[in-house]
Point group: D2
């Protein structure tokens, strides 16, 4: 179950403190010429940085491609890649060998498998998302060549929430803000909150919003393969994600049907459009040509920089001292991961849809 997708499929491997993480992209159509500089730029976006919210682990995240690309062009064969884990200090983690951090995967891995690689969270580390970035960054380039643009941004940290819809924001340069929040006022408040939490050895959660523009009508499969179900599965597979909604959010659910019906009209160019977009670009599980937009909630992660009370695998109480390098708020770093997972989902749906008609 380490494979994502149906046609465009990413299989990943790797633990935080092993020699490398990596993956295989299978089903990438032949004939695409990736922009490797752009790909490196995307990889860098996920990397722990020096920003206010980020941990201090530094890695080049250099993706080494091993197959499936010949003379700069995808060949249709699987694209294997590895990303070396260069900045690994396992000694930090020895106290976790026999103790379970609260709200982490330590206990559940032990319960499921009978053992675990305890160094740095092992496979449950956010380090694993580097491999997703590689698969997603390639998908994103293919989508862009097809006129599809995916943009995510931080819309909430702790209690500070952007009041605007995505349409009222300028999303051209989300990364110019260290928190990836496109509203300067809110960003300032968020930054203050993150710094305060970091000073307290604590963490904050938040919400990432994402918009996908340029998807034509017809993507997604009715019933169990609805486009929103594929997206929800993609998003809830991101570490620390707790929730997903699209179009109408949990907050809008109190409205009446007559208020939120998206009335159709013909645009001057003859295309079918809707006056509003409460459907979030998806009706009956299938894209309708309007913008697709959704939110993903992320919890405040439980890796605190303060002593934490727990029990060991022997059942006895233990106090864990803060160690390792950790983010006070993972939300800004989740932004490119949300985009990556969305890109793979949409490209997959686009390829599946090639078989819908004779």
């Amino acid at each position: 179950m380490n494979t994502f997708g149906h046609i465009y499929r990413l299989t990943t491997f790797g633990e935080s403190h092993g020699p490398a993480v990596g993956g295989i992209i299978d089903g990438c159509p032949a004939g695409f010429r990736p922009d490797f500089d752009e790909l490196a730029r995307q990889m860098a976006r996920r990397r722990p940085g020096s920003g206010a919210a980020a941990s201090h682990r530094r890695e080049a995240d250099g993706v080494q491609f091993l197959s499936g690309i010949f003379e700069g062009v995808t060949t249709g064969t699987p694209i294997g890649f590895v990303i070396a884990n260069s900045d690994v200090r396992s000694a930090d983690y020895t106290q976790l060998r026999d103790a379970w951090r609260p709200s982490h995967a330590d206990y559940t891995y032990d319960a499921k498998y009978g053992l675990r690689d305890y160094r740095g969270g092992g496979r449950a580390s956010a380090r694993e998302t580097a491999a997703r970035m590689a698969g997603g960054a390639l998908a994103m380039q293919i989508l862009r060549a097809n006129g599809i643009i995916i943009t995510a941004y931080t819309s909430q940290i702790a209690a500070i929430k952007l009041p605007q819809s995505y349409r009222q924001l300028s999303l051209a340069d989300v990364d110019s803000c260290v928190l990836r929040c496109p509203d300067a006022t809110a960003a300032t408040a968020m930054l203050h909150a993150v710094e305060q939490a970091r000073a307290d050895g604590d963490t904050l959660g938040g919400v990432v919003s994402c918009v996908i523009r340029g998807v034509s009508a017809g993507l997604g499969e009715p019933v169990f393969g609805k486009l929103q179900a594929m997206l929800a599965s993609a998003m809830l597979g991101i570490p620390a994600a707790k929730g997903f909604d699209y179009g109408m959010s949990f907050d809008d659910i109190d409205r009446r049907g007559s208020e939120v019906a998206d009335i159709f009209y013909n645009a001057p160019d003859g295309s079918v459009c809707t006056r509003t977009n409460h459907s979030g670009g998806i009706q009956g599980g299938i894209s309708n040509g309007e913008d697709i937009y959704f939110r993903v909630a992320f919890k405040p992660v439980a890796t605190l920089m303060q002593p934490v009370e727990t029990i060991g695998s022997d059942g006895l109480p233990v106090t864990l001292e803060p160690a390792g390098r950790h983010d006070a708020c993972v939300v800004p770093r989740a932004v490119p991961v949300v985009e990556a997972m969305a890109a793979m989902t949409i490209l997959d749906a686009l390829l599946i849809n090639r078989c819908a008609r004779l």
Copy 2:
């Protein structure tokens, strides 16, 4: 993509106004003796009834099993079943042949497939969920025999929201309320709101909450097959579902990590427990033995009992007159569907988990 699940797999077929809906349950373990009376009772729960919120279509929802059960016991071979569409009045729908209802699947099916069965919403009708109920009701019985109990209930309709957590509610007899809301005061207010909406020819949305008790630690696959991702995919595949969250909700996301870390302790019987359960019973994608709980948001459906402005497939404006039989609020009927999808998800995860260790 009309198949749900990996080991316990349900494939469904059927349109609202064809001769039948139905499905095939593949991968049901051999040796289980289903309680068919209980199964019929579950089917009846989804059926449009005479309650305040429901439409007036009536069907026996009698499931005819065609295979896979011999002398009352599952044989391990696929269980084929059909559910006749007995109460079908296609004449109601002729105005939809060439027009697209707002916020329905009419336009997107046309865009994807080039044609559609326009009668009663065709495959996009909630009628399709009858087949899911059959697969889910069987899964639920197998789970119950393994000590796992799934209970869903209406926790919000329109702006009326239960303030309590599921632990503060009595969930023993959710169905005694026509809206499946376990709080009498809220239910009264909800009922009033639904009646008002019905009187206005309008519709209401809401939220279904669901609790799964008795799941042992170890279910769910790390990374792309996280238990919450499987559940989210299951829930977002239900018609009209707009959102999913588990453990900490969108509303709780403003809390700090130190407040929501679930501290471990050993119960008197030696089992590992957590003092709080902000994790919603899942850590790192794997169940930890605590209650699993989540919410599913449902939009107010767009089938209104009032004239609706739209365009036809010729691009010209049309006014659709109200027709057919429709729910003013689908949330109560979604309750058993949420349970059914949850049951199939958990049983599937339980079977997959048999291969986790040597």
Copy 3:
């Protein structure tokens, strides 16, 4: 594991003596208008008939379609169908409740599942192939509309073997021979052998050869999804099949590489062709545009019309008396099943291949 295919997927259900067999065809492209008379004709070809080789069970094999076809055209939604088991005499089989027929699935089903539907072989009966015929007959019509023609025939029964290659035979009217053997002389000898075997209460095996014409270059996936691997899996899934070879057969394996290299040339119309076709139309797992041809070996089935010595589930010796209605040679009836499985395989490969390039 009762699903065949990746995009065009058939899931089947049903036991020999239950109320029905049937299935769901998922992934059939929208917009095809099936010829139902032709479909019924194909179903009839598999049916036990009055021919020299056949058993005497008679069923209409009427396929009742329940969904996925609207106003005569496929809609892209799943096509559910049932085929009633009308001519069922379960009393014939009571002696099999506690005894295992040699070389049947009786013992292995018991070993795997702990129980079995013993009536008429249950799910292991050739009756199950009726559902495959429905899926295959539809696939074959779609292929024919794409210029692809699949023809199978009996090329060996017992020791009587057609010496010719398929190119030297007229395959226009295979069914005019009751044994589906396109060589009159061989057919006469085969018929004699089958009559003799029937008189002795015995059975014969044989070989079905199959030719697929009109497949363009590019179908099949390298490595694990090679077109020959998909075909082999399809064929070895047919009851009583023991072997598969394509292009060069087991008998030709003694030749040298220089003798069997298929030299390329350009046809007058510019297309790339090979002078010989030892590759059987597939190179590196991918079709090359030449005829695809292969053979499937079928054992003499073990349902004899003579007393058979075995043991019961209690471990004690039993003698089984001949009962039921059985073929002396299943090979002619396997001919349409081979075609059906080949048709689904090729259509699936054709759809998968739509995603090979940007």
Copy 4:
């Protein structure tokens, strides 16, 4: 489609002349301690050697494991691995840039993907099987720990065929013969034939036989997942494989049902056995506890050490000069690949079967 298996899944990547081949083993149960020396020994068996039949490319085939194994034990997470392509001389292959070798995958890759990595056959090279060996060697160790032993051997080269059944041969030390033929007399004749073919710049085909002992009854899924169908798919996915049969072979198909029915009896220990084993250990698609045995036919490969006439992608005639390093007979090197694919198939079936019963 570069993934093999359902629970124990191997996904591979890599071209002959890229930096590496490799793969990801997903679904390997946690808690197994691989013997890495034995694994290296298995890898060495596939490697081109200095034997009579082999090509002269030499590589260490050192498998570098990157994840999924912690302190020497499998953790249940995916096992990523790479095998560097160290001995790569791409200059040998420039003449293949624009020309298609007969009976190779050159033309079909171009037809499918519009381009190909022409160096050394690219992904279609036998080099790709190194990654399968890694997945298979691990599976084989797990099976051995469960009492299951898989042994393959060369049973035919060109026209020289072992007359004995596997029961009459000593399979304890197949590798002591350079051709992996366990009959000394036949091996001598085969060796002579191979040397003659090599001297002529020609190639020979042959047959690999394989025996699997120790499989308990119950593995394999009825209908489309029959154990023989999984094995056939595995074997026909090996480069140069042309055919598969099991139990009764194509040569035995002329026998009568009464001759080949495998009569049951109770062994002294109470276990159910059959007096003969024409079923090849599989009945109704499910293992019955007897030895599983099958054959795989391999063609004489078309990479000749003599000038070969063909056409280029421009349609003009070309003569290809012999180049590269190639086997005169691939059959001995296919022996460990047959074992590897069989091991993955059986382990997968064994894991799937854990879900057959409640």
